[in-house]
Symmetry: C3
Subunit: 391 residues, 3 copies
Amino acid sequence: MNFRETAARLPAEGENNLFGKSFLRTWDMTDEDVKAVAAGAGALKALRDNNLSPKYFESGIAVSMFSKKDMGMNIAFASGCDLLGLTIIDMDRKLGNSAINETATMASYMADALGVCESDFIEKSSRYIKRISDSVEESKNNGVITEKPCVLNLGSDEDSPVQTIADLQYMAEKFGGTENLKGKKIAITWAYSPNGTRSLAVPQGILSLVTRFGMNVVLAAPEGMELMPDAYKRAEENAEKSGGSFSRVSSMEEAFADAEIVVPINWAPYSFLEKRTELSAANLGTYIDLLEHELRENNKEFIDWEVTEAMMEKTKDGKALLLHDLPADVTDISCIRGEMTAQVYSANSASLLAEAGMRPYVIASMILFAKAKNPRAAFEAMAEKATKRYF
Amino acid sequence: MNFRETAARLPAEGENNLFGKSFLRTWDMTDEDVKAVAAGAGALKALRDNNLSPKYFESGIAVSMFSKKDMGMNIAFASGCDLLGLTIIDMDRKLGNSAINETATMASYMADALGVCESDFIEKSSRYIKRISDSVEESKNNGVITEKPCVLNLGSDEDSPVQTIADLQYMAEKFGGTENLKGKKIAITWAYSPNGTRSLAVPQGILSLVTRFGMNVVLAAPEGMELMPDAYKRAEENAEKSGGSFSRVSSMEEAFADAEIVVPINWAPYSFLEKRTELSAANLGTYIDLLEHELRENNKEFIDWEVTEAMMEKTKDGKALLLHDLPADVTDISCIRGEMTAQVYSANSASLLAEAGMRPYVIASMILFAKAKNPRAAFEAMAEKATKRYF
Amino acid sequence: MNFRETAARLPAEGENNLFGKSFLRTWDMTDEDVKAVAAGAGALKALRDNNLSPKYFESGIAVSMFSKKDMGMNIAFASGCDLLGLTIIDMDRKLGNSAINETATMASYMADALGVCESDFIEKSSRYIKRISDSVEESKNNGVITEKPCVLNLGSDEDSPVQTIADLQYMAEKFGGTENLKGKKIAITWAYSPNGTRSLAVPQGILSLVTRFGMNVVLAAPEGMELMPDAYKRAEENAEKSGGSFSRVSSMEEAFADAEIVVPINWAPYSFLEKRTELSAANLGTYIDLLEHELRENNKEFIDWEVTEAMMEKTKDGKALLLHDLPADVTDISCIRGEMTAQVYSANSASLLAEAGMRPYVIASMILFAKAKNPRAAFEAMAEKATKRYF
């Protein structure tokens, strides 16, 4: 990729809608903004791959707030922030009834970015991240903080914009641009995992995003493995507007047939997540354990929702691009039975790891768009300066 | 604030008493030194608010040693150190019988600052921080380390100099200079909290500091909620010397009457803290639980020591400046009944957060005074260089 | 030490065998390579001691992966990486059955160094670190990552190359060069500790390294306190090749007699470690507790294996150089009875701390050799640039 050509496609002064913004859900962003962030990620990657330092900040910190450990996203956030020159501070916190504006503001005295991951509670998780964003906005307006950090959703109950824009940019690089995604069949399918309690953020996020680019999207899941009702509606509307299509089928086979891209992923049904959120609000931990146990038992019925080599054979020319937000549950490697076989994983692991490798650049791109009025000029200045990352 | 004017007030070569020093208690510092550190904090804030980078260090680390998590002070330390270009390393440690000089020296091979927070044990906590400071001094003298890091007390059993100098500078900015604090009435009062076991560091620290600036200081606490005996004596002597006054009253109402500044804060009585320290030395954890339970039960008698809107009305023109070292225990927000009502908190939260926002700058100022022989020249060089923090 | 003279001894373009390499065991390195890394550590120390910044990287991260907390090595890694300009990210991880290549690659998207400490399991620990190294190699070859981070063994079941090369460089500075170690008697002896379950990494590592430099090496341990069989064989072969000697004795007294260097250190016998590894693989935690209890009880028989002042008197002129990878178990300081008396510790603590202070420089030296094709030029460029670490 030619760096200067990419930079020329980035928004200049007055064209950057994302300046000063938070990144909570892709469906709050225009298509142009999504593509700009994705292109920015690609440009940053090109810089670093050429040993040039995209160190936009001379100093500054980024604060990560994870309700649960998530090794992959945590290191992606740390990596992306470091790329721009920000040092990461991990803030322990619990989703509680303490004053959110206090926590958010204390983290923000010198932070240029807050990365928040909170996915366990339907509606509440999104609201929590939104309140963090509103609080720093308010503290900025009150003059309590001089600069507003960019708030990034690193995974909520409903979306995971870093993951999905990383996937978009990864597909764009594979197929020669987002415009080439038009008309391609992509299968998003539920897959078995012994854990079984993963949030809806990634399947909903992918579904909501790819339907905007004219793709033929097929969603497959066992009976009862529902997403939030909104997600289907959004997918339908997007597909209609973008000239693509959206359909739902009830088997992985049907979804995989002739697909050019496949996204196997485990999720817990919406009804389970709603129920767990209620039980959690009522402090009924024992019943949560029971509920999770029942879900896992029930899931065993769908143990055949596993991506095998035979299943991959059904895709277009038998070689669809396999996407997954790592870590994956892999049969015989990380569990007895999982989302895909060890053979499928091994054959695709280099690609899966390259896909995940886009996340730090998406994070850095988001922060740059939120902090630089003129991202195009910022990129050009960094390319001009051409500081070697090491000599 | 004009940056150059402020810089001109900072000590130059030969005038900096704080070079090579640790920051353990404000009462070990002269009035001039305290004011210099406060002014330095203001100058650093002015630099950063103008997007100039006060990055004094090209590289280097700062090590934080917290015996208990303290989100607010921890992020303040990380923020203040990053401001100067230092990366933060969190060192897990327990106050134990292991060789303190070993821990302190290992942390110091490349550290420019050690931030220590240890407040649970009467006398022992202070002694522990002092031994860390003595150990690095010794290792420097032995040639084991080339440079002595600055040791900062981030909260001990008896003082919290970062918090109190932050408060001093915040008041100075509000009232147009520390000289304008003279003659103002400040109320420091115990307030109810369901936790009830907070250390004496902040109330004693505030009391010991503000009595040095000619203020009329009134301390209010329920029967039995004693500070260390030294604290009263120091307050009396300071008040006499500074031309202010110090008195003790037995109700929040009396303290608040016509006060221009109010500081509601919960603390555990000295007798409790002494007893807990003894029980802890004897490894009698069960009895500590019992002792804490009794304290909490006893405290319920004083549940009316809460700052309400009616209470705030009693202050000068009904609009005293409210100070608190966050996080606060707020009724209906973080607990059922706390130090202040949600109304009082909301009305003052922007100011409280701005007050807490001074802490990172005080930390940075302390480190700069300890490491730069000529702080004035250092500030002028940074202003001259005028490196933008980001472009 | 004159910096330019040292730099002149470092490998130049085409001479650096360590470029792109991992550091797993010293016995995989040539004598020249070991000496080059040690000399590099000395050169980096000289730079920093003169307030010059050896900041080789403009930005970048280093990831630490510790299976257990190890305060000393953790802070050494953080310090050494910061010295070169890398920010440290701590990655929580467990030695499990999850895909190692996934963990290693995710850590490596922007990492220039991975520091791994995993010492509990005989053979498995080494294999784990090796697989991390192989995984990043593979991801580099696959094009998944643009740059391969240097993988450092910070302590495994069989070696601790950072510790032992730090010791080598420390001895070299004390005796005027590694060439002067030839013919000197060094005693490596087991010493009592109430814990008793330490790995073989340090004793085996020291033994394997010093026998390469013509020293007269005497190993002393109680009956049954065996190292891995390989370690003795390697020591014998090394000693023969280097013109030194290697012998085993059964008392500390015999080993200390006329020794110029003494290394008292506790370790658990190989048979115990093998058994524990088996029990752990079978998830038999209760039996591990029992096994450790039995070991501690058995060890009490050897409580006299303690370095006392009288024991030190037996060494050459009564003043052998005492080495230890801190923290030490010191009688009356960190335990009731330990590896050495408080008197011996106090008399030697400055030297022990200076020895440990070499570790961050060895870590930085390793990373520099792995990342710079021409370390000599890198050093000269840094000296030329002469950026002050602070002004």
